[in-house]
Structures are given as structure tokens and as C-alpha cells.
Amino acid sequence: MRQTWVTPGGVHPPENKHQSVTQPIGSLPIPEKLVVPLGQHIGAPAIACVKLGDKVLKGQKIADPAGTVSVAIHAPTSGTVSAIEARPIAHSSGIEALCIEITSDGKDQWIALQGIADFEHTTPKTLLSIITDAGIAGMGGAGFPTAVKLNPGFHRPIDTLIVNATECEPYITADDALIRERAEEIIEGIRILSHTLGNPSNILIGIEDNKPEAIQALEPHTQDTGINVVSFPTKYPSGGEKQLIYILTGKELPSGQIPADIGIVCVNIGTTYAIKRAVVEGEPLVSRVTTMTGEACEINRNYDVLIGTPVSHMLEHNKFDAEKCSRVIMGGPMMGFSLMSKDIPIVKTSNCLLAPSVEEIPHNEPAQPCIRCGMCAEACPASLLPQQLLWYSQAKDYDRLQSHNLFDCIECGACSYVCPSNIPLVQHYRSSKSDIKKAEEEKIKSAQARERFEFRQQRIEQADKEREAKRAARREAALQAKKTAAPNSAADIVAAAQARTEAKQLSPEQEQAKLERAVSSAEMRVQKAQSKLDTAVASEEPEDKIKILSAALSGAQQKLEKAKTRLAEQSN
């Protein structure tokens, strides 16, 4: 047995995992229409490369990755592109985003697939591009593009690969089922990962001891591979990346750093399976295993679900009873978010669809005052003081919130889970975090605005001076003209006017130079935006910030394009 470390805090909510693992992974009939969001991962949303009415085959690329931190999107089945528009997507704040709708032709016909049998003789670079092109992003929760994670750069040598099979949230058994049935392929996927990372010396599969079948399934395939299956006592949230790193290595990820900074790469076990399919079979990521569970559905089991399958389709096929149901949750009961509508599609990160009955998860009780009992602090895996964070959140004391390390909160919900006063602590933290971020962005924005203002002021002054000079010159010219010859014919007046306008216009050379300047400054702006986005991604900034940055990048790119076309027109 390998040594494991024990994290502070944690809770033991009822597991409720047995309901969904009694049957093997099933499959659902193909829905009539699939809705595939373009942004299922962290980073820039993919860019659609099909048009309305196009016929597509299963696995055909329908959107290209936009930049380095992005992945491709593929058609989950064969059919016709019937809409490209904003639809409600799986997101905690219930937003809409660009999606491609595919009306199935019922044939489920694959494109020609081509895999690599011998990955060991393929360069990591090729493998990484296969992974990006197969649309693989972390399938455990956040959806971080896997290829980016696997390419930490030379200055960050990796000595440990951690495969996260913890699945610590109650109810969810997607990974468990996947391991039980497809352990061999998973191990193959891990070997591919290890190869792309230059064969790190430690390869650990972290798994909680409540999944003995899965552990047993892995064992025969890991013998003599150097891959260690490490099991440890079940406790929520052991599956948090930071917690798992500590449990398996005894190292803490320093605040604000990414695992690669301490030589670790963490990948969800479902992702390793997807990588194997992508590399060896050439199959892009078009389906995933999702747990359908909760008492409001008669059937509880795991399914191989096509990405883009509407939630309503899953619910119907599992005999969903809306009367009984207290809420529909995407993800688990601790960190999942409740869905607004049935039309939301399953995406690459959807590991569970939970439809609990009211008895299972009752409606929220009204919150009572905090009695400062400290149970939350006992439960917090990050050793924060949730009650103080609550206090300062309510007081909007951002300085205190930061000195109490609000941003180290992983939003696991353990504190709210134990709070006897039913206080929705995590909700307070989320809104405080976004308030603080907003305030900081505003600070940056106002600094930029000031800069812009000063620059404009300068320009105006400059222009004023120039105008003044021109006016003086004109006056001079008029005086001269008067002196030489009084304007006595209409032709003279016209000629004089023409001369004046010409004097005002820039010469073609000047025009050219001006446009060139515009292009180069636009280029600078694009570069800046790109580097900002890259650093944000590298330091694993939160999703929404990255979204803002990628939007800024695409804006800058557009401006650059415009400037270039204008320059081209001028030179012709």
C-alpha cells in the first residue's frame, strides 16, 4: 500500500451510488435533434465551420478550435445542420450561447476514421494535435482543454501524472461504471498520456475505497506498467484537484499556482478513455458516459450519451415524474447546478443528471442567523473560516475577504452542507468573488480609460495646432493671390478652391503610412490580448475571466482584419 495523506475537514454525505450501477452502461435512442454548444470547454469557443443546411456525418468536425486554448467540436451523429443560433446551455447562471443544431437522419453514419496503432513512435506534438482535434477537454468538471494541460512547457518538468478516479460526489457513478467496463482502454489512454508527458516517474490513479469493483477491474491491467492504483478513505471532497494532490503526494499546491508548477499533471479518468479512443481509433469525442439518477426517474443507470442530447430526451427515456421532482441538477448534489429548462443539452463535462424527489433533496429551508458554531470551519477542506467569510461577504468587506483567502475557496459546498442554520454560504462566496473581480476589472478599465482620455486630449491639441497652421497658410495664400491678381473670373475661383481641397487632403504616401501605422498598432493589440489570455489560462484563472479575455482577443482580431483590408484597398 502506498502512503496517502489525510486532508483536513470534509464531510460524508449519503453516497447514493448503488442505484445507478446495478445495470451496465446503456445507450439511448438517437434524439431527433441534437444541440451542440460551441463553448463546452474553458477558453475561446470553437468557430463553426459548417453552414446551415450542410449535411454532416457522425464525427465530422463542425467547429474549429479558436486559438491555442480551445478544442474542436464534432457532429455527434449524421444529419443536417438545422440551426446555428444562441440556445440555453448548461451553465450555473442559465445563460444562452451559440450552438449548432443537428437534425439526425437516423443513420448514425461515421466519417472514415483513422487511428494510430503505434502511439509510442509518434511524437508528443502529433499526439497533442490529435487530442485537440478530437475535441478533448477535461471531462471531470471544468472542461479545460486537455492538450494545453499536457503541454506545460520545458520550464515545468512533470514527474507525476495523477489520474483522478475519485468521483467523490454522491450519486455520480459515471467514472465507476466506465472503469468497471472499460479498464483496459483506460489504461491504454493513461499510457498515451504518460508518453506525451515524457514518461513521468510516478503515475497514480487516485480512487476512493467505495469503488472496490472498479479497483479490481483496474488491477489486472496495471500490472508491470508502473501505474499505481491508490485507494484512500471515502470523504467529500477528495476529488478536488488540490485535495487529491495532497492525498496522493502530501504536497500542497501553492495558492495561485497550477499543478504543473510543482511537476504534477492531473487528468480525469474519463478523459483518459476519450484520449485512447481519439488516438488509437481516431474517434473524436462525440459521446460520454453520464449517470442518470434520482428518485424522480424510474430508471437509474449510466448511459453512453451523445454530446448534444437534450436533457428532456434523457428524462423521458427514464420515466421522469415532474410531480415528484424537487429540481433537476446537472452534476452532483454538492457542486452541480440546477437546470432552468429541459432543453439544455448534455455537454462534454456533464457527468451526471440528477432528478431527486422532494423527499431526497427537500426544498431549501429558510436560512437562520449564523450562530458561529464553527461546524463549517470543521468541514472546510481548505482550512478557511467560512463563518467569517460569510460575515465579511454580507458586510461587503473585500479587504477582509481577501485576507481570509476567499479565493482559495473551491466552492465544494461542505460548509453549507453542515451548516445547522441552512445558510447558503457558497452562494455568498460566489457573489462576493464576482463582485471583487468586477471591481478589479473596473479598476483596470478606468486606468485604461484615463490613458485613452489623455491620448485623445493630446490628439485634439495637436489637431488644433495643425488647423491653426493651415488657416494661417490659407490666409497667407489668399493675401498673396490678392496681391498678384484680383480674382476676376469664375474659373479662377474654382481653381483656387480645388487647390485648397488638395492642400487639405493627404498625399497617397501619407495615407499609406497612416494605414500602415493603424495595422501595426492593431497587431500590437492582438498580441497583447493573446498574451493576456495565455497567462490567464496558464494560471488557471476562472472561466468567466477567460471568456472576457477571449472576447477581447476576437474583437482585436476583427479590428486588425479591417485595418488590413483598408490598407490593401489603398495600395491597389
Binding site: 457542486m335 440528477l354 458554531c373 485576507s403
Partner: protein, 354 residues
């Protein structure tokens, strides 16, 4: 169709504030039984009277503050305060002492500060101290323990006790007397051994003081029940008792006439155990982190000893707790736990680096 929108986490553990409070009340039962056994019906009457007063006055304040009655009364916090105050007051003290103390605790010390969760001071102890300062006579008249009653005398029965309480008459002489801490403090010029021989409060005791040792054992048992139910962590009570023990060992002075008393006497007399497990564990007015609670508990143990040994009051839990309440925010500032991924502990007043 639209579903209900709720934020995570969706699951919730079973404990509720009301249950926590109920358990605290239940945990006082061993102590209450010991008190009633050794000192008669007075404590029980105190507790019931205080509870009624607390509920009524809390309801009135809630009404004035226009808060939903059932919701806030349902948290049982007023009852806990009342029970603790009732236990701390001398048995058979006049009814108005109980009522004034309770009203002070609930209305002034709690509701006027914003209600449950916002009171900087332990409400029961505020009430107690106000009474002690205002009515020193009533507050220092204790009942003689059962074992030491003179021949032919017994504690008044329940009806007689009620009559005494509501007529505000002092109980007959002979059934009132000093507490062991009181008696110890006011005997000067004798060595500890001499006091122990002369004073039947000590000479007939098992190890600390007749009756009182049982009361303290009762509260200790209640405390262990709460600890095993994880109502609070061990840090505060253990730090307080350990400090109290340590102080009395250091200053034991081998029992000379100057000695402030033995370790056992301090641990198992007066309100030591009740203070350790029921008073300083009041989460609202104490410190928040475990390290903070160690400091907080130790501070209380230290203050209790100092006041008992060299101060003017024989027992000192209430003053010590209130003083420590004052210090709690300050202690909190320096005892933040080390967050995952940070190498240093921060101070709460630290500014973000910019």
C-alpha cells in the same frame, strides 16, 4: 417547462440549529439533577422561571422588531440562555432576581445587539454579572448542601420552595450558607489542611466540596455528551481547564495559609465545569478558529484563577468570560488557520497586496 433554480450544494446534513440548541439543553440535565439533589428545588424553579421569562420577553422584542415569531423562537437560543442563567443563580433566590436577570440577558445582551449571532457578549453571563453587582446579597446566599444540613432540618419541599421564591422571603437560617470557594476565600490565617479539617464543606467531601463536586461532575458529563455529538470542539474547554489546573499547581504553595487552594478544589468547585463546557463554548461570543479557541479558553482559565485567588469574588467564571469576549475579535485577528496552499498564516486585518 421551467424547473426550479437553486444553487449548490443541494444536499444538506441533518443537524439544525434548533436541534443543536435542544441538545445543549438536554446536556444540562445531569448537572441540574445534581443541583436539585444537593440543594433542593430552587435550581429547577430558577430554570423554569427563567425559560418562561425568556420566551415571553423574546417574543415581545420580536414583535416590536417585526420579526416572524415562530421562526426565531424556534431556534431555542433564548431557552438555552435562560437555562444557563437559571442554573447559575443561587437556588431559592427571589423570583424578581431571576426575571430581571433573564430580561437583561435576552433583551439587552442579545436582542438589542441584533439577535442571535450578533451578540458580542455571552447573554447569560451579562445577566449574571448585572445581578451580582446589583443584588450582591441575594446573589451570594447559597443553600447548604443536603449532606450538611443540621439535624432535623431539610430543604423546603417543592410547594414551600415556590412560596419562598415568590414571597421573596429568605429561607430559614441553617439551610443557607457559603459555597466552598466562598468559605475558603474568607478564612484567613489558616493553612489549607486546617481549613479542610475545620470546614465540613471540605472535611466531608470526596475531593473538592460537598455537593459541588457532584454538580461539577454532572456538568462534566453533559460536556462529554456534547463533545461526543460534536457540538463543539475540545479546544476551548480543555484549554480552560488545563490552564486553571496549571495555575493552581504553580501557585499551590504546598498548602500554606497564603495558598489559593488545590487544583481539585478549583476544577470541581463553583461553576468551573459549567463554565468550561456550557459557557465558554457559546459559539457566538467566542473565537472562531480552533487555535483561537485554545487561546480563548486558556485566557478564561487564567482570568478565573487570578480573580479567585487574588480578586474580590470567590467565583469568577462570569467576569472571566465577559473579559475574554472583549478579547475575542483581537484573538481572532491573530489566529487565522493556515489555508491550503499558503505557507504562512495571515492576519485578518492584513490588506490585499496592492
Amino acid at each position: 417547462m421551467a424547473f426550479k433554480q437553486v444553487t449548490s450544494p443541494h444536499a444538506h446534513g441533518a443537524k439544525s440549529t434548533a436541534n443543536v440548541m435542544k441538545l445543549v439543553v438536554l446536556a444540562t440535565i445531569p448537572g441540574l439533577i445534581a443541583l436539585t439533589w444537593h440543594f433542593g428545588w430552587g435550581s429547577l424553579i430558577n430554570v423554569v422561571l427563567a425559560c418562561l421569562t425568556a420566551v415571553i420577553s423574546e417574543a415581545l422584542v420580536l414583535k416590536i422588531r417585526k420579526r416572524p415569531l415562530a421562526f426565531y423562537l424556534g431556534d431555542y437560543s433564548a431557552v438555552v440562555t435562560a437555562v444557563l442563567l437559571g442554573l447559575a443563580l443561587p437556588p431559592l433566590c427571589p423570583w424578581w432576581v431571576v426575571v430581571i436577570g433573564t430580561v437583561f440577558s435576552v433583551v439587552i445582551a442579545k436582542q438589542l445587539f441584533g439577535g442571535l449571532g450578533y451578540n458580542p457578549f455571552n447573554p447569560a453571563m451579562v445577566g449574571y454579572v448585572v445581578l451580582l453587582i446589583s443584588f450582591p446579597v441575594q446573589m451570594t446566599t447559597w443553600i447548604t448542601p443536603l449532606a450538611l444540613l443540621p439535624e432535623g432540618l431539610s430543604h423546603p419541599d417543592f410547594i414551600e420552595s415556590l412560596r419562598l421564591v415568590f414571597s421573596s422571603l429568605a429561607p430559614v437560617d441553617g439551610i443557607t450558607g457559603a459555597t466552598p470557594l466562598d468559605s475558603f476565600k474568607h478564612t484567613s490565617g489558616l493553612t489549607v489542611d486546617q481549613i479542610y479539617q475545620q470546614d465540613s464543606l471540605f472535611s466531608q467531601a470526596m475531593f473538592a466540596g460537598v455537593g459541588w463536586e457532584w454538580v461539577n461532575l454532572g456538568f462534566l458529563a453533559g460536556g462529554i455528551i456534547m463533545l461526543s455529538n460534536r457540538l463543539f470542539t475540545w479546544h476551548g474547554p480543555v484549554a480552560m481547564l488545563a490552564t486553571l489546573a496549571l495555575m493552581s499547581l504553580i501557585f499551590w504553595d504546598s498548602g500554606s495559609s497564603q495558598s489559593p487552594g488545590s487544583m481539585m478544589m478549583h476544577l470541581f468547585n463553583g461553576a468551573s465545569m459549567m463554565g468550561a463546557f456550557f459557557i465558554l463554548t457559546d459559539p457566538v461570543s467566542s473565537t472562531v478558529s480552533n487555535r483561537g479557541r485554545l487561546v480563548y479558553g486558556a485566557l478564561i482559565g487564567f482570568l478565573v484563577y487570578i480573580i479567585r485567588a487574588w480578586g474580590n469574588y470567590p467565583d469568577a467564571i462570569a467576569f472571566a468570560v465577559l473579559l475574554a469576549n472583549f478579547c475575542a475579535p483581537f484573538i481572532d485577528n491573530y489566529t487565522l488557520p493556515r489555508t491550503y496552499g499558503h505557507t504562512d498564516r495571515r492576519k485578518a486585518t492584513e490588506r490585499s497586496e496592492d
